[in-house]
């Protein structure tokens, strides 16, 4: 199997800790404070929903957890290690090995086939020489993931040839191919019809139950949020536990 090269030793608990994180964006003339001291935890194999109105800062929180952005103040810890202030190269690496992300708009690369999209985190991970060493392994893994999500027959289709539900399943397979510890999903069902959305949600729950994958699901939909073990409500940049 593929060596995931964990950057952080998984002995510590909780898996993810967000400590009094603040984040403000420049908006027009002044600063718009989106997060005003958020504290939040995800235990190993936990499934947490973050719920809130549009603009409550839930996507920003997700980006901070996914190391796509850095907090103005506060800390983000992964398995007991502070990760928000790591050098860029290590943050890039962590994003690749420990965190999987799923977006509302799928965010697949249009030039690549479904299989190649799923392989892309591994393409990013390995240098050219390493890639050829791991290629067969990676391919097998990506194929089995796609088959698991019922896309065994669509390996070589381009994203534009897939339906929304299929694209989101490819995106989830992509998030999982690098064997992350944490899956961050940003409104994964937001662009889908009810049936497809339900399918995606079912797949996430299944991953959490059988594989023990920790999931943070951001949504504005109460009914979807209820599928999680725990719901965290963001109101005006602060957490209200439910």
């Amino acid at each position: 199997m593929i060596d995931t090269n964990r950057e952080i030793d998984p002995s510590g608990t909780p898996l993810l800790q967000v400590r009094s994180v603040r984040k403000a964006y420049r908006s027009g003339g002044g600063m718009l404070e989106v997060l005003r001291g958020v504290d939040f935890e995800v235990e190993p194999a936990g499934f947490v929903s973050v719920i809130g109105q549009s603009g409550s800062g839930k996507s920003t929180l997700l980006h901070l957890m996914g190391l796509l952005d850095a907090p103005d103040s506060g800390e983000v810890h992964l398995a007991g290690t502070r990760i928000d202030n790591l050098p860029t190269a290590r943050r890039d690496r962590l994003r690749n090995t420990d965190i999987g992300m799923v977006f509302q708009a799928y965010h697949l690369l249009p030039e690549l086939s479904a299989l190649e999209n799923v392989l892309s985190p591994l393409l990013v991970r390995f240098s050219i020489a390493d890639w050829f060493r791991h290629k067969a392994d990676a391919r097998r893994r990506a194929e089995s993931l796609l088959e698991r999500f019922g896309l065994g027959g669509r390996l070589h289709h381009k994203p534009r040839q897939l339906s929304g539900g299929e694209m989101q399943r490819v995106a989830i397979a992509r998030a999982l191919v690098g064997q992350p510890r944490l899956l961050l999903a940003d409104e994964p069902t937001g662009n889908l019809d009810e049936a497809s959305g339900a399918g995606i949600l079912e797949a996430l729950c299944e991953l959490n139950r059988s594989d023990g994958l920790s999931i943070v699901l951001v949504t504005h939909d109460q009914s979807i949020a209820r599928r999680a073990d725990r719901i965290v409500r963001l109101v005006a940049g602060r957490v209200e536990n439910v």
């Binding site: 980006h63 996914g66 796509l68 952005d69 860029t88 190269a89 890039d92 690496r93 962590l94 994003r95 690749n96 090995t97 992300m101 977006f103 965010h107 697949l108 690369l109 249009p110 030039e111 690549l112 190649e116 892309s120 985190p121 393409l123 990013v124 991970r125 390995f126 240098s127 050219i128 390493d130 890639w131 992509r174």
Partner: protein
Amino acid sequence: MYTLLLCWRYLRTRWIALASVISVTLGVATMIVVNAVMAGFAHEMQSRIHGILSDLVFESHSLSGFQDPAWHMEEIRRAGGDDIEGMTPTAAVPAMLNFQVRGQWVTRQIMLIGIDEKTHAQVSDFGRYLQHPDNRRQLSFDLRDGGYDTIDSQTDGQQVATRPALEGAGWPHRRMRVERERAWRQRQAELQAGEQAGGVDPRGSGPVRPVDHQVDAVLAATSPAVTADGDANTAPPGELPPTAPVDPFRAAKPEEGRSFDPAKEQFTGIVPGIGLASFRDSEGIDRFLVLPGDDVKITFPTAATPPKAVTDTYTVVDFYESKMSEYDSNFVFVPIEQLEKARGMIDPQTGLASVNSIQIKLRPGADLEEVRDRLRESFPADMYAVSSWKDKQGPLLSAVDMEMAVLNILLFMIVAVAGFGILAIFFMIVVEKTRDIGILKSLGASSSGVAGIFLGYGLFLGLVGAGAGLALGLGITWNINRIRVLVEWCTGERVFDPSIYYFFRIPTIVDPWTIAWIIAGAVGIAVAASVLPALRAARLHPVEALRHD
């Protein structure tokens, strides 16, 4: 790995980007063709110049030259050693050439060069440039009995206008002309005799002198010229102009104390440059004012102080055609002994002759500059100058180099402009791919990796553009003469007129180093143009990039 894959995918899905490299292709192709042709022209010119001049020229600073060339040549051989292959003395003096064309005296400024007919062709390509095949083998200042080339011998068998005027040149032309002049002379004498008998002498001239050889000789020297189409040969005698009433050259005598028959004898032979004796008309046909067999007059200064002007009559025996108009319309070659004698360059006490310079040919592979410097050390610099053929033509050669450099800079601008095209297109692609860049970053791609995609893209486009340009450029260069023929056939106009350039095919030289530089430059520009878009891509903030639509 993703860098390569995505770079390749973007290429495969964005052929339009290749449009931006077409200008790179064209720029590279143009540079290759222009460089090859210019190098060809420069090489052709250099070889011409080198063919005219010998490898080294040893000369005195004064116009009256130095005495005893044999001793100097020995000294040069001692200094130069094995590197010297051949030597020949020459004497040069500025002079005036006079000949009559249809009654008009034509005067040309020339450089009269005394050469040794046996050895001169050994030190340079002089022999190759003559019009009679026997003279090309071994120059003789004796008039040949016809057989001059009617087709330029330096054309490599290309289709060019012939020179029918040279058909009868030589002794046949000379005999015919003398005959005609005698007939005209006789007729004039008869007419004048008739007028005197009638008691009316409109010109008030004295009694007509008998037509003797002396007059014939003078007439021969001042004969009307024959044009290329030969119509003067067939013109009625009445159209021929009379000898000028006051002939400044009447004093010229061929050889003292002996009668001279111009139909059987000649004056000292000379070989003028073909540009002095002919011109090329609008159809590219050479029209001759003077032909081998005609007599001309040359006025030059003596070696005395102050110099006196001396005029002598000479017979044209051949033409010199180096294809360098500067020389072809300036040089006139005479036997060196004759020139030394006529200018008084022979010391009456010692009998030693003076020459202006010694032309030296070096053994193939000898170091031109090194031998030149060795000779410079061996002779006092205040009396002698030793220069190589390159030194002699230094300004011209450096002007050509300069021209090439400027042209290259200008052409490289074209490639640079292409670079800005690439820059613009890449910026567009980066904007279009902003979200993909965000996705890649969310997958853990580093900024340098993202930049690598676009740099690799630029490198690939540069390579493709330069490669296509290389193929196109070499294709054009190697087939340039065929293309020229095709273009001429299509347009009906002469693209490359040999009468202007004196070459009969476009010369090209492909220099691998020049091509390497051009390719490297073009690829470099393509990569440089992709640096800015690549940096922009690398600096994109992942969150904002992901939000981009």
